[in-house]
């Protein structure tokens, strides 16, 4: 395994239930506010209402693109502006897009299928919209980028994987700049799907708490601008962070449940640390996956207590809900913003320690010191992905 050269992050953008911009989100997190509520974007036929975290997407509804792509476009525009780039200024550069998603890659539409099942020929507009809405392609089209384009569909680790892969493109010299992160929308398919698996909580999500009963779904997008050193030198741009390492591994154990000992997560952590050249005592904190499901939090707590016993950790999903393919992007953005501020928010929703969990998250806003932190994701399919992120220069 090779030691990775750091890849600079020069811009950040985020849109989720915690806020319409990254500064709004961070203000929400440090104020300890959250607003899960009954879905308004769609109707449901369940006897119980499971709360969700809807993003404040101000942009008007578009008939042309799925909501996932529109969420990604908003976050990407913020990230590019933060990096000091316009689409025009990037013409002629080798710019790639690497995005994670789940719903954004759908190839089916419930309304379309309902019409068909009812014996009517459905309007083709929903299928045309799907064919135009590949998330990575949507960003490349909007900003006029002509480099590599990749939509990663690794379920809930997609966003983390996308940042790791995007950094690899920079290291390999394939791109001068990469937009990397994740985006996902709320919808009936995931709402019904996760409910059918009986892993959603009918009250606000409680990551790592004794009384946790499952996740709340969320939506949003988190985008990082990754930039080559050569391009950064051209414009003397300070980095707001660095991707120092990335690791991923498969449990090869079960389609929907994590390995009980977290074997894949341990391997992903080991790889990420090894290629960053850092050790556990150099980490300021861990932004855990922390979905609030009994299985996920048990495994994560065990692994963190064993591998990183002195490192404070939290889950930010209490503020955002589980944003699926967007989660890795959003949480990488939060991790860098927290490193910058030298503090992490409280793990909202946690109040009662679970005696089964050997490690517990921070309960209040906590000052942290250190130059690096981890953001980790676990996913359906047994995927585990970990980013080592470094503090910026400003």
């Amino acid at each position: 395994m090779m030691r990775h050269l750091p890849v600079a992050v020069t811009g950040l953008g985020c849109l989720c239930a915690a806020g319409a911009t990254l500064p709004d989100c961070m203000a929400t997190l440090f104020a300890g506010r959250r607003q899960p509520k009954a879905p308004t974007l769609f109707t449901t036929g369940h006897a119980v209402t499971y709360p969700v975290f809807e993003a404040p997407l101000a942009e008007p509804e578009s008939a042309e693109l799925l909501r996932t792509s529109r969420l990604a476009l908003v976050a990407a525009a913020e990230a590019l502006a933060d990096a000091g780039w316009t689409a025009d200024a990037l013409r002629g550069r080798r710019v790639g897009v690497c995005l994670g998603t789940t719903v954004g890659s759908t190839t089916s539409d419930e309304g379309f299928c309902r019409e068909l099942r009812a014996g009517r020929h459905p309007d083709l507009a929903p299928m045309k919209r799907i064919l135009k809405s590949n998330p990575a392609r949507s960003l490349a089209r909007e900003f006029g980028f002509s480099g590599p384009c990749q939509t990663i569909v690794n379920a809930c680790s997609s966003g983390t994987d996308a940042v790791g892969q995007g950094a690899a493109w920079i290291r390999a010299g394939l791109c001068d700049l990469v937009l990397a992160g994740g985006a996902d929308e709320l919808g009936r398919v995931t709402y019904n799907g996760f409910t059918s698996l009986m892993i959603t909580d009918e009250s606000p999500v409680k990551p790592f708490d004794k009384n946790r009963r499952g996740l709340n779904l969320g939506e949003g997008a988190g985008i990082l601008v990754l930039e080559s050193e050569a391009l950064r030198r051209e414009r003397s741009k300070a980095a707001c962070g660095f991707v120092l390492g990335y690791g991923s591994a498969c449990d090869a154990h079960h389609l929907t449940a994590p390995h009980p000992e977290g074997l894949g997560l341990k391997r992903a952590l080991a790889e990420a640390l090894q290629c960053s050249g850092l050790t556990a005592d150099e980490l300021a904190f861990v932004n855990a996956h922390g979905t609030g499901t009994p299985d996920n939090d048990r495994v994560e707590s065990r692994v963190l207590s064993e591998v990183l016993p002195q490192v404070p950790f939290l889950s930010t999903k209490g503020y955002t809900g589980h944003t699926l393919g967007a989660a890795g992007g959003i949480e990488a953005v939060f991790t860098l913003a927290c490193l910058e501020q030298g503090r992490i928010p409280a793990n909202v929703g946690f109040s009662e320690p679970d005696p089964e969990l050997p490690a517990t998250p921070v309960r209040e806003v906590t000052a942290v010191s250190g130059q690096a932190a981890l953001s980790e994701s676990l996913a359906f399919g047994g995927n585990n992905a970990v980013l080592v992120l470094g503090k910026g220069e400003s």
Binding site: C113, N134, G144, N154, G193
Partner: protein, 361 residues
Amino acid sequence: MKLDIAISGIGVVGGFGCGRQALASALRSGKSPRSKASFMTPDGPAELPAYLADTAQLERFVPKRELRRIDHFSRMAMLGSFLALEDGGMLDADRSRLGVVIATGYGATRTTFSFLDSVISGGDALASPTHFSSSVHNAAAAHTSILLKATGPSLTVSQFEMSVPSALLTACLWLEEERVDAVLFGGVDECGELLHYCWQRFIPGTGADQPMCPLDFEHQSAVAGEGAAFLLLTRAAGAAAPYGRICQVQQGNVVGGALELPGDAVLFLGADGHRECGAAYREFSGAASLSAYTPLYGSLPVGPAFDLAVAALSCREDQLFPAPCGGSRSLGTQPEALAGRSICCLKFGTEGDFGLIRVEK
């Protein structure tokens, strides 16, 4: 970016049959059997010609009872994976440093449709958890990793027609960065009721069982296909590469991105009989040597994975297979010596996207 990735094994299943030999036979004969795909429409039952894959041979590798809850999409991927490992002599090897990278244009469309069906027919409360968990795009990679005990990284990419070049870029980088010792790389897509219905709606009048003529760029002749094409990839590092080496993977857009084609290369065009995409390939119709093998496996987003398998077989046999579709400047009806030339698999997507994979013996 210069690459040196060895292709060490091939595993394919599609309309032509199952395994390397079946593909080679189809390449020699220029023929691949077609089936009829039946589906319901509001106007009644309908049929379309299609190249369909049979996964019965998976039971050679996996006990039948373990396959009960695994859908057709994942079965195709698993069969391709096992065949590639077997072909590469790695069926019994340690797989702790084996990565899995899968490309899919549409994912498990049948299972997604079944999940929606469970909601439509039974209501929200009766949504099927089994269909939901199997409908995620990475289900095939997950099943493959679980059955193979492949504990390296696993990644699934969905970029419609660009899925294969995009995912292959990742597979090659994993090897270049020494994250893994080998990668099981493949493309998989399936036919199904929803796809056939949409096909008929988007391209009316395609029900006739006519030959595919992908190099006749003005003529709509696409026939739907499904299947899986997997390759076992390793770092070449000077070692023997019986199926040749991948030396370039480029993904970009013709607007602002230069397509880097070596002058003497043989072109395997990903043209698959869709008139709408034909225009993008037209400028290459004057190339000295070109072919399109899509009439052997059909039209599907991950077609370039099959072209890559054909390129690998060509390297192994040091010859180019006859073009199954004719065409003014294409390869002839007899095999032709590869003669040191590289093979470029070129695929165009919508809006000027392209993917280029160059293979050398």
